[in-house]
Symmetry: D2
Subunit: 140 residues, 4 copies
């Protein structure tokens, strides 16, 4: 599963350089992961109702080129690792052929006490597993 | 009760003009209202736990002068109206002697179904009432 | 000219109530105004390059109903007043038939010294003028 | 140079979990780096005026524990690497004795064309160099 979604930079997302602010990219990546979950039919709302959450445990992000208001950006999201209670997405943001940034985001499933647990079987999705060719795509 | 609090503009709060973004002032005003509530001993956390909320129903805001990174700002918060289920704060933001913006914010107390209700008696505070001299301070 | 645009609420735009944060609506409105300007062919970038800006001078906003993550929202933008150096947009945000909020936003054209000036003739657009039937649509 | 600064979590900085949103920590870290620069007398404004910028090239961040509204947080910033055109800060955020998150932020100095260059000699500061004991403090 390689998931694409896109968005256009909004005027209020830029900083004093007229560039998308560094922190805003983390919002974009979150948006793309939520779209990924919807695309694979993962019922995140139900998961929350049952007291489970997918939390972000680690982010590694490299900023390559700035983006500006009105730029159309594409975000590509791919699972590259899945372990018992956690997993890793590789996410890249593109403006046409130019890579704007590249990130790896580690998530962990926690119960209502914040303890790492397996994703409950009936909620889990095979699409959270990386395909063979996507394993080891790590950037660091 | 006229309440003062202050903050310093942070680099990530400005837009492409290097001015504090319009929407950010609403965050500053929210911050100042929460500080006001703490200052008068209003137990907002307890109120939430009992299923009540103070929601913002209306904001009127006039932007007078821009603010920039590192500017020290003072926010003055004063109740100017109190009715059965709602009330109005006048809030002004200052950079030294210069007024940056001026606002009126109408809040309403709602129960867990979103219905306007009186603030429960044991949670209410006389300090939410305007003093005589602060009534009619309305800017529009 | 009545302009429609739409967006979907993103997960990171909500507050501790799981509702779109009050200040975020001002961002949505800014987004819609920028889309309006594009739709009427107003060259905002050129205007900035020449040292002019359209600043927000006043916002009056009424919050009617909360919006939540994934809600599809439509924003309607209509000029309701135009004066020498300023003008007013009425903007409403809808979730289907339900009005989420209603706002009036006053803009002013300023030169590079921040002084109110007419929009330079070659940049101005008749579409910034209200149509007869949209005048007096004021909500306060 | 080990620099401490502190802030209190504001109500509008939390997400639907009532936890500080992941992206907001990047804002906190930016705030702390700007405070670090002020503390060592680095004239960032002058640097910008001369056409140079310090850009963030990479961030690695681990989220350890959530923070909530009103939490007092301390941010510790330490240079752990300095190279010709770039450097690395280690930054940790604490709530009392509890580490909320830990990050490494790589900056690069660029000229007005976005090309990596040395920090101009008269603007550079020895305090951007790590002390011996702070080298190799890397978390990944």
């Amino acid at each position: 599963m390689i998931h694409h979604c896109s968005l256009q930079v909004r005027s209020y997302e830029v900083d004093g350089y007229n560039h998308v602010n560094n922190a805003v990219y983390l919002n974009y990546l979150e948006y793309a992961r939520m779209e990924f979950l919807k695309a694979i039919g993962f019922d995140y709302r139900l998961m929350r109702e049952r007291g489970y959450s997918l939390l972000v445990a680690r982010v590694y992000i490299e900023y390559k080129h700035p983006a500006e208001p009105d730029d159309y950006l594409t975000i590509i999201t791919t699972p590259i690792k899945k372990q018992k209670t956690s997993g890793v997405f590789k996410q890249t943001i593109w403006k046409g052929e130019k890579m704007i940034c590249s990130a790896e985001v580690t998530w962990v499933c926690v119960d209502s006490h914040g303890r790492p647990v397996r994703i409950p079987h009936e909620l889990d999705s095979p699409e959270l597993n990386p395909k063979k060719e996507d394993i080891d795509g790590s950037i660091h």
